[in-house]
Amino acid sequence: MQSVSIIGIGQTPVGEQWDVSIRDLASRAVIAALKDAGIDRPDALYVGNMLSGPLAAQEQLATLIADWSGLRGVEALKVEAACASGAAALRVGYMAVASGLHDLVVVCGVEKMTDLDGEEATIALMTAADADYEAIHGTTFISLNAMLMRRYMEEYKVPYEAFAGFPVNSHANAVHNPNAMFRQAIDRDTFLNARMIADPINLFDSAPISDGAAAVVLCSTERARELHRHPVRIAASSIATDSVALHDRHDPLFLSAVYSSAMKAYQQAGIGPEDIDLFELHDAFSIISALSLEASGFAPRGQGTRLAVEGEIGLQGRIPIATMGGLKARGHPVGATGIYQVVEAVLQLRGEAGKNQVQGAHWAMTQNVGGVGGTAITHILEG
């Protein structure tokens, strides 16, 4: 197996982009990434996307994007793993290059969510849950996460205010990210007074519905040094799964797929959580930030919120998270999110993150979660 590196990145702004279609979003990211890599034609295109069928009325998506990116004829496939679709496509691209099957691969994550209204998007997102035993009861993704949050608060005696640090941090970091959806800071009171969506989760605790696309170009590490001034090596790539339904888990407050994928990733990279300089985690809801920090080895169980309360998740903290705004404030175009995380981590490792630069960043970890932890995909990058 050969070592794999990232030699190109591209992204579109995240937001409600009424004037841009799914094909144009994706092709803009692909073309930008190919340009950054100095490549004309890759061997294959893998597209991470969850909902192009129900939301954009478009399937055979990867073929369309290949054509619209000037790549008609290349191998092209769509990869789906709910909100983890982006990282799942990266995993496929990684396997293709690591195995030696392909030399140059472009991986794109894209989601176009605003062509239908919010109620339709909510029901489409619920297809990542158990249709017969969760969705039919009128549960939403927010209410599933809300039940986790309430149980967590009760079991570990954690007050509601303890979660405020997560969205406050994400919004602060989005201010200087030109591609972020919400580029305004919020304070603790904004969080505490926000409108309830599914209690105890409020508006400022939930990642927004948005449009966006991001892409990366992969090649062997050996060749990467010839092609790019600052290649970033993929030191680990791992996927783990859990039950899709929350109610099928022995211990819902332990994200076992997150734990397994993180531990396998540390093992592959030969490092531990203490070595990670920044962590782009899946902050769709702050309860997931807390549980992911715990399951990934950054905090003991029940103490994930303490890192936020004590300021350890900021750019100068012990473990910076959501350094460009995260899902909460950069935005969460679901199938694209996993690639945005990687693009942002590459910017950090290249030293190109501007005012959000984590000084001396050498190891970055990205973690993309599908459903309420049913799929977890962790990558560790070295640069």
Partner: protein, 139 residues
């Protein structure tokens, strides 16, 4: 219109029928072909009592399409007394009164109506355990 998916699970929706694994004794809801615990085939039907307690809950203010008329409503994870967790709505209760650990029991209710032309989907919800009528009439 999706008909068969609801018809297929009628024993689960109306009777809370699950399974007991003959190998490890674990109670399973919903039923499945392989026990997730011991990985042996599971196919012995088991009707659950419908008694349980609230493990966690959330009141939904922004519902998905098809549930607007019911909002706000409270969804819960209920720990059945035989072991499994089940996702369902709570009914016949003020959301303010719900608490973790609250004893609940299964009832059959309308889960969703799909308009004039559509079907009415029935299934289980859970309500607070009713105070039983005083055991003995006036003496």
């Amino acid at each position: 219109m999706r008909l068969a998916p609801h018809w297929r699970v009628r024993a689960q929706r109306y009777q809370l029928r699950g399974e007991v694994c003959e190998c490890c004794g674990r109670h399973l809801f919903p039923p499945r072909d392989v026990c997730p615990s011991c990985h042996q085939p599971a196919n012995e039907p088991f009707p659950f009592s419908g008694e349980g307690t609230v493990y966690s809950y959330s009141t939904v203010y922004e519902p998905p399409r098809g549930y607007e008329q019911y909002a706000p409503y409270t969804v819960a994870l209920v720990r059945l007394k035989e072991g499994p967790l089940v996702t369902a709505q709570l009914t016949d209760v003020d959301p303010e009164q719900v608490h973790i650990g609250m004893p609940v029991e299964m009832v059959t209710r309308v889960l969703r109506e799909e308009g004039e032309e559509g079907i009415i989907i029935y299934g289980y919800k859970f309500r607070p355990v009713l105070e039983r009528a005083a055991a003995s009439p006036a003496q």
